[in-house]
Symmetry: C2
Subunit: 129 residues, 2 copies
C-alpha cells in the first residue's frame, strides 16, 4: 500500500501555510520554510504542495495570474488583493447574495463561488492621508 510518511519538510511547509495571513505563492512558501529548513529544495515544495492539495489539506487559489495556496478548513472566506503593495488578505465576510436554492438565472446550478476584491489595503489607503 502507499504509505504517506510524515517528514520535517512536510510539517514545515504545512505550518507555513497554516500560519500565513493569506494565500502564498511557491516562492514565498519556499522562503518562509527555509527559515526552519535552510537546505529545503524548490522541487520538494512543488511536490509537497501537490501532495497536500490532493489530500485536501490545502487548496490553490488563482489570483493575478499566479497560483497561490492556502490551508483548507478555514471556513467560508474571500480575498482582497491590494493594488499597491500586491499583498493578498483574507476576508471573513461574504458580500455575495445568491438566489436561494443555488439556481442562478439562466439555469446555472451554483455549487461554489469565489470573490476577489481589488483596491487599497488599510495600510496603503492610509498613505493617501
Amino acid at each position: 500500500m502507499t504509505a504517506t510518511r510524515s517528514t520535517r519538510q512536510r510539517d514545515v511547509i504545512s505550518r507555513v501555510l497554516t500560519d500565513a495571513e493569506g494565500p502564498l505563492g511557491v516562492a514565498e512558501v519556499l522562503r518562509r520554510a527555509q527559515a526552519d529548513l535552510p537546505g529545503l529544495g524548490i522541487a520538494t515544495v512543488y511536490r509537497t504542495l501537490k501532495l497536500l492539495t490532493e489530500q485536501r489539506r490545502i487548496h490553490p487559489v488563482a489570483l493575478d495570474g499566479e497560483t497561490l495556496y492556502e490551508a483548507s478548513g478555514r471556513g467560508h472566506h474571500h480575498h482582497f488583493s491590494c493594488n499597491r503593495c500586491t499583498r493578498v488578505f483574507t476576508l471573513h465576510s461574504c458580500p455575495l447574495s445568491l438566489p436561494a436554492g443555488g439556481m442562478y438565472p439562466g439555469g446555472f446550478v451554483v455549487e461554489a463561488h469565489e470573490v476577489t476584491l481589488y483596491g487599497l489595503c488599510p495600510a496603503c489607503a492610509a498613505q493617501d492621508s
Copy 2:
C-alpha cells in the same frame, strides 16, 4: 514618438477575442488566429496580448490557475465555470452587494471586484435529468 501600427496579426488576434464566447488562454488564441494566419508565431501572440492589455482593449482573467484574456468594454459581468464540461460562461448580472462608498469593513478601499461561480451549466445540469 511611439507609433502603434495596425497589422494583420493584431487585427486577427483582436477579433478572435471579440468573437469569443468567453475568455481564452494563450494556446487557444493562437489556435483560432492561425485559422486566418497560418504562419502566426506564439511570440507574436504573447506580445500582442501584452500590448492589447496595456491599451485596455482586453484584460486578463485568472481562472483555474490559467491566465485567460477577454475583450474589454462588455460592461460589468462575471464568470461561471462548469465543473463538468469546464467551459467558462459570461454572466451579465452581478450578485455582489458591497457597502456604499467602496469602504469594506476593516478599512479596505474597494476599487474593483471579480466573482466566479462554479457548478453545473444549464446543459450539464439537464443531463442529471
